[in-house]
């Protein structure tokens, strides 16, 4: 019977399709596992009780799971200082970075002036500098200014590192705001600055937020510059503290894991939430450390 034959063909076809879908999902699940597993392991280690921190146990929720490592992070290390230091340095850096970037981006977006193309190329060119090349002279400058182990020294060292990206992303956003809005404001009675402060900046809140977030994550996660400028454990940012915790003894793994998780969760939440915008800005500006 042809009807039965065609039904069989269709059934086979459907089965093949289902198999294909299952394979794709299987591959994706495997990939996700590879991506997430180290994070889950940190969670597992952080929950291990003191006598079983070092073990070949692979279970995600270890036997006798406990929060003791978290308590020890706060009690036995300067973790709160580190967090606080990171927060202060990062917020100050981001504010300075966004303030400098917004006016510069506006100039690039709205005016024609000699050297404009060159300026944009220079911004892009700073991304080509070998990492570490600027750390040495910055370190020496900060040492001579007697700013070692200070917030100010860190902010100075960080403040322009994300500037090129911030300028690119803000310029991209300003470009999308119709000029007629500023013209209307001019006719309504503002100065050119007034048009910028009253119209363009309030309208750019999303882009300003993204630039701020980018500055924030860059400075928050930075390690190499901090290593050189901060030598006092009370002045450490959390990246330095964490590295030292992990480096010393295996017995501190539990604390290392707990501290890692504490700093990772909020940063990741913000990052996942903003990744879409960050990405557009990034391919636009071409920065990520």
């Amino acid at each position: 019977m042809t009807e039965r034959r065609s039904a069989a063909i269709l059934k086979a076809h459907r089965r093949r399709q289902a198999l294909k879908t299952a394979l794709v999902h299987g591959a994706l699940i495997l990939a996700c596992a590879v991506c997430v597993y180290p994070l889950l392991r940190i969670l597992a280690v952080s929950l291990r009780p003191g006598d079983r921190i070092i073990s070949t146990d692979l279970s995600l929720i270890p036997q006798g799971a406990t929060w003791v490592s978290y308590a020890r992070v706060f009690a036995e290390t300067n973790f709160l200082f580190w967090l606080w230091n990171s927060l202060v340095i990062t917020v100050a850096t981001s504010l300075v970075g966004v303030a400098l970037a917004s006016t510069a981006a506006y100039a690039f977006s709205r005016f024609k002036f000699p050297g404009q193309k060159l300026g944009l190329s220079f911004l892009l060119g700073t991304q080509m500098l070998p990492a570490g090349m600027l750390i040495l002279p910055l370190f020496l400058m900060i040492m001579r200014l007697k700013l070692m182990n200070t917030y100010l020294g860190m902010v100075i060292a960080y403040s322009v590192s994300s500037l090129p990206f911030s300028i690119w992303i803000l310029k991209g956003y300003f470009d999308t705001i119709p000029r007629s809005l500023e013209e209307a404001a001019l006719v309504d009675g503002t100065s050119i600055f007034g048009a910028f402060y009253r119209i363009v900046l309030p309208l750019s809140t999303p882009a300003l937020a993204i630039a701020f977030l980018f500055n924030f994550t860059q400075a928050w996660n930075e390690y190499l510059v901090a290593r050189v400028i901060l030598t006092d454990s009370f002045k450490y940012t959390w990246t330095l503290g964490l590295f030292d915790l992990q480096g010393q003894y295996l017995t501190q793994w539990g604390m290392f894991a707990a501290a890692s998780l504490l700093v990772t969760i909020p940063v990741m939440a913000v990052f996942l939430y903003s990744s879409k915008w960050l990405l557009t800005g990034m391919t636009l500006g071409g920065v990520k450390g």
């Binding site: 994706l28 392991r41 510069a104 002036f113 020496l140 040492m143 322009v160 390690y223 990246t239 290392f256």
Partner: protein, 389 residues
Amino acid sequence: MLAPVLQVAQFALLIAGAVALLEGWLHYHFTRHEKSWFVPVGVLGTMALVLAGAAAAAGGSVEPSRILSLGTGTAIAEVLVALFFRHVVRGRHSLPIMLLAPAALGLGLLIAYPLVFEVYLAFHDLKLTTIMAWSRTGDLPFVGLKHFRKVFTSSPLSEVSFWQLLLRTVWWTFVNVFFHVAGGFVMALLLNSVTRFKGLYRMLLIVPWAMPQVVAVLAMRGEFHSQYGFINIMLVESGLGPVQWLGQHPFLTCTIINVWLGIPFMAVVILGGLQSISRHYYDAASIDGASAFQQFRMITLPLIKPVLAPAVTLGTVWTFNNINVIYLVTGQAGGTEDADILVSALYKAAFAFYRYSYSAAFALIVFLLLFTFSMVWLKWSKGSESLYD
């Protein structure tokens, strides 16, 4: 608990005040340069600012001779600046210049000046034994090209040579970028072919990218531990025996970790590109009889190139410049040199071996290499065009 808060408040005020003063100073110069009182007020104001700043920095008391020299110096500088504003900065370009000034000043002081300083360092001799004298007097002996020669003749660290580092850097960059792009493509194509759970998969897949790099690298490093790392546990379980990853194969370990770190970014970029390709091209191609592979080669690849080219350019530069992974994996005391690439050796030479001038010369050579490569690459791929758009 109160002390740090006060300290921070003070610090915040200092930062805000400095930025406000700078902006105010600039604003004055840009907006008032046509007025007759522009020069005298500018000179007096700037002198007052500088002297107040000097007094604050010195803790309240400044010697009269310092006041005199500082005051005259400032006054002369300010007159020059004022004349510059009056006669050069005017007309329709004054506004953009003013808007750019703060950022340009920052970039100049913290990028351009350090670069110049780096060149100065490379031709002089600053090392652990001369740094104390230098920080007192500011004088350094001139040594010409000595450090540049030494880069090629002696090891930047203790054993590995410049040429080994160069080769390893090229290999490191190539392998990493290759796997980033290949892995990114696989991930993106897989993601693009499903409809259910797509958002969830995407979110989980970018976890390595979203984690703070320090945490991600250190966590992965733990998994390579010879006894307690996941990988060796599995190897032992399956009877293959433990591998001394960190001790004997540090470069391989770093490469694996960096591939793991870098795939998500490429995957997301490529996915974005894939989603921007209209369904209609594939419909037309499949009616024309193109196989899946032919569709990938004839439609996907060419249409994704504008997205891929800049991402690959950036990925290459980032990988070339990646100190983080190698330093965090091998950088602790007594670490191996077998995984070092140019930039990580550069960092270690300066801050683990304290060879400042040497590493400055080293940095300039690396910079020239990267710069030449970038120029050639950008010319060849026209990647710069799509970076601008």
